[in-house]
Symmetry: D2
Subunit: 349 residues, 4 copies
């Protein structure tokens, strides 16, 4: 059994990790970490755990945990993890960081977008960007994973085949993404109150959301040349789900493809990937990926304006956070990749 | 492996059955039954099944299924099942009927409330009312189960300890229950459209809902004497969940109990029941039972008006339908009762 | 023009008052009061006011306001208003208090339920309980109005004809009410976050909600003898609306009435009331009273259990707060009662 | 008093017209038209009208209505109105068509996108595109108005200043719009059921929505040269509201403008328009325009990718349909433009 610890287990992503790990057949959860709820039973924080686990939240250090855990999942605000990880810890256990600290390879870009100092510069070369479908081989050998952001997972997976095959004008990408309210975390703030959220849709952080450089890093890597994207998120009144609508202008090579041919290219690109579902006749709808690790993708072509339009959908807390973190763990520990995350969720919900 | 078939697998309860059975470690699903979607892939009816199963919906008769299945789950409108089951079928396989046809022992009451003829009068003595916590021993030996209604499951479990111990005036029970919209099924009808349902709460079938005689039958059985209840359901704008608020006047015996003593009595009554959670300091909230087989119960006493108030909460599609049906199957086949239904759901939603 | 001031204009009820008063043909708003947003433009607190008013929130005392206003509306937490009103103020202007301080005539009951001292004991005899349909004549002459609570307005109006006509057993009343989330006010608190509120229904303050003694006071007055009620509120995931389901056992006089006769009695009781709509074939649904001052009422009889069931529905912020406050103002100033509150709201919301 | 008739008064847009016209100080509603509900009281179709109007829905022809009405509002499916209007009718009364038949000047484009024949080709030159802020002078003299679509109103108003001033590359426009569910009308269809709509966001009609040519027509007119746009709508789980996120690449002229300068240009462009609100520090949120005729607009510049991003928000049934129709009527009849539509809505919801 893999001994797993969670730091930050009472936020939405941390709790999603916990519920999945508690039912993972190869995992034993050795620590439910929480600073806010230190000493309280998990069932008092999330009453769904009554009769399920009597475990108590503890505020343990990563240092301590590294002696009792094989893998530590970190669900912390950005800027925290980078100051707490070091080589000694990484010698003793594997780290999967759900925060932003180990995703960007260029730390100047990190510091510019996150407006904070990075405290673990020497570790950045050891970290692997944990987008499983694109970095599986590196993940297998990694001790430290920067688990991708929710918007980025959906955006990169949606655009990868087009970019990798050089079918679009590289600086033409616009991503308009919509997210449910869990993306804002479990904090009491006026804008996310029920009465203020229902009957409301709005864009936010237009052109300046921090997931932008992460998307650019990975698409540039696929493209071979650096590219820029314009990324805008929108808040929609639902709990879970991200829908990313990606627009790009076809270049001369891309124009030769029909919609069917691009669809075939997508099928081929992801032909071995269980968690990527290329849709043929449907547009991705967040409700069909809710509670799963799937990323649904469809590709359309608008010949009038010469653009490819790719639509991706994921569950932001599952494939966009906890589910992918466990997928990374499965890869790192040599388990079948679906282990513990191939659930069939409740519908509707 | 138990070979299981579902008749009516594309309604909300039927689909909930399917998703649970597909992940049940001791079950093989041998037929996904649907008249409406006969010949279509399940993934085309509910796209969440893409990559999960390639199975196709078929409109098979119960007769046919009885030769290939060890257990058949029926999720049909009332009045249908009673005409399709017979002794020959029951000799070959077990039947768990999620509809209303085999719940009421007094068929005159059935015909009066359901305004339809019952076609299987001879079978009614063979059927067992499948409320697991109250009829476990009979269920073990049954071939035919009338799986309880959603409102009834919640109401009966909430009131059983009070009634069994004769602590309330027997005709004083009022149940005010609230349900999510999935209770109305998966049919396109104006009142259940998004725009007509949000921002709206209303009672319906005041004093005349068909779950009333079912509650009366079981509470009368517990009480030893016949009793009547006033039951009113309300529609609330959410998907899943039932909250039952049960009011009853304490009799002289009941008045001697403090709230704490009644709470202890509830703990004791359900002390061996994993799926019943007696809350001490909280009021049941449907969100904490969503996607689970739990029934949460709290008991309060209002000394000013001399009444006991019991609050129960379940997921109407899980403990109120598909989950309890599988719990019944587990009991009938000698499996550990939690097998395949002890999930930890996604939260929020 | 009536000069009106609002104290506490940035909470949900206060803002509802403001928007109605700004379009009231006989009113000039002379002060938008707010402590939290003192000095800020109303359009910055509620951006819907952009282009509508450039007015600025001010933290003025009631003392100050009494010199510039003909009527002051108070939307304050309980216990505050009672210490700020005095005879000098009441000589200069009329006060309509939307809080709880001037509703209960028995201040011992007030102090017991609200667990706070009442600071204006000498004023209580001058205050009138502002349930317009029942106290119109007193309201006409009043300087100080205790504007009724939301749950109480709906409950009392629903039960008044039965109680006044002595058709029910006086201590048999149970009220099970459901409210939208605006009832919890505009404060950032975890339980009222979008993610924690959707897909959730739960009772709260079972048997101990502070609106109980207010309902008892008014129904006792109608009955001629003191009576007790059991009142339980429930939180449902919508913004506005209260649905009150009132149960009572018919006494010997009541049993003689058929459902139709009771319906006729209700029609007669409220025959001159524009804002009370007795429904004949429908059950009240909160969506049809949203944004209006109407109270919809239906009466049902369950002969099996010998009970009358009355269902009432109002908009908690309109008839349950701001609308009724303006209805009171109209009565106090001799205006036609519908002035400024006979709106037709947007549907669906 | 203007005598107004509505044809199609029981759909969502038609009903919105009715409720506004019933409170319009210069209007008398002479006919509530409905084929489906012919002969029924409006209060039975929408119970919010109880005590408000006793009027009955009638299925009158436009021919008949032209003799009794000064203005007829048509809320009909596309393809119907064009066959029912003729010169004789237009001689007798004014027509405001909320459908699509009289919006597009090029009927070949109409027939291509709507896949239906246009039956009133000779009338198209008499019709005026009723986007009030851009065509006010023509509207004043018009007998026949093609009232703009909801998506188009929001998109065109958002982009007009940029296009008119030639600051963007003319074929670079991408519009990603989000709409509430009322946009789908009041029909019982499975995809718009509550249970299927909540917790769900999805794009639809990607690149092929019929509002596209309407946007292109008007922006081309402003630009002086023909241009193409890529328009994609998304369905979000709320009732009302459209948020349009418009992306365009700045051309050499545009690049010279700072964000502040573009903001000033927008302020100037709409300086006399009450119903257009240019936001300085906020992003438009649909909740703040709900129930109003306002269009909120903000402009952002992303210098990294050299793009202007304009965000517009309207209420799809108000400014996007019924409110704008009445604004057109006010202009046509020489009334102050705000008459009857300068409401302050209820908030929240």
């Amino acid at each position: 059994m893999i001994k797993a610890a969670i730091v930050g287990a009472t936020g939405y992503a941390g709790q999603e990790l916990l519920r999945l790990l508690l039912r993972h057949p190869e995992v034993e959860v050795v620590s439910i970490g929480s600073r806010t709820y230190d000493g309280q039973k998990m069932e008092d924080v999330y009453p769904l755990y009554k009769h399920v686990t009597k475990d108590i939240c503890k505020n343990r250090t990563i240092e301590e945990l590294s002696s009792i855990a094989d893998v530590i999942f970190l669900a912390l605000p950005h800027g925290v993890a980078s100051g707490k990880i070091n080589d000694q810890i990484l010698d003793k256990c594997k780290i999967i960081d759900l925060g932003a600290d180990f995703r960007l390879k260029d730390l100047d870009i990190y510091e510019k977008w996150y407006k904070t100092e990075h405290h673990g510069r020497s570790l950045i070369n050891k970290s692997v960007y944990g987008l499983c479908e694109l970095h599986r081989d590196e993940i297998k050998k990694a001790q430290l994973i920067g688990n991708p952001g929710c918007y980025t997972t959906c955006s990169i997976l949606s655009l990868a085949p087009l970019v990798k095959n050089h079918l679009i004008q590289k600086d033409s990408i616009i991503i308009d993404a919509k997210s449910g309210v869990t993306g804002a975390g479990r904090n009491a703030q006026l804008p996310y109150m029920f009465c203020e959220c229902t009957e409301s849709v709005k864009p936010y952080k237009v052109g300046c959301h921090r997931h932008t450089p992460e998307i650019e890093q990975e698409l540039s890597l696929l493209n071979g040349e650096s590219l820029k994207v314009l990324f805008t998120p929108n808040l929609v009144p639902m709990n879970r789900g991200i829908s990313a609508l990606c627009y790009a202008t076809l270049n001369d090579a891309g124009k030769k493809y029909s919609e069917n041919e691009l669809n075939a290219l997508y099928h081929d690109f992801y032909k071995d990937e269980y968690f990527i579902r290329i849709l043929d006749d449907r547009i991705p709808d967040t409700k069909w990926v809710k509670g799963s690790n799937f990323c649904d993708i469809a590709i359309k072509v608008d010949h009038r304006t010469n653009r490819a339009i790719v639509i991706g959908a994921i569950d932001n807390l599952f494939k966009g956070a906890a589910g992918q973190a466990i997928q990374n763990m499965n890869i790192m520990f040599g388990l079948p990749e679906k282990t513990g995350i191939d659930l069939i969720t409740d519908y509707p919900v």
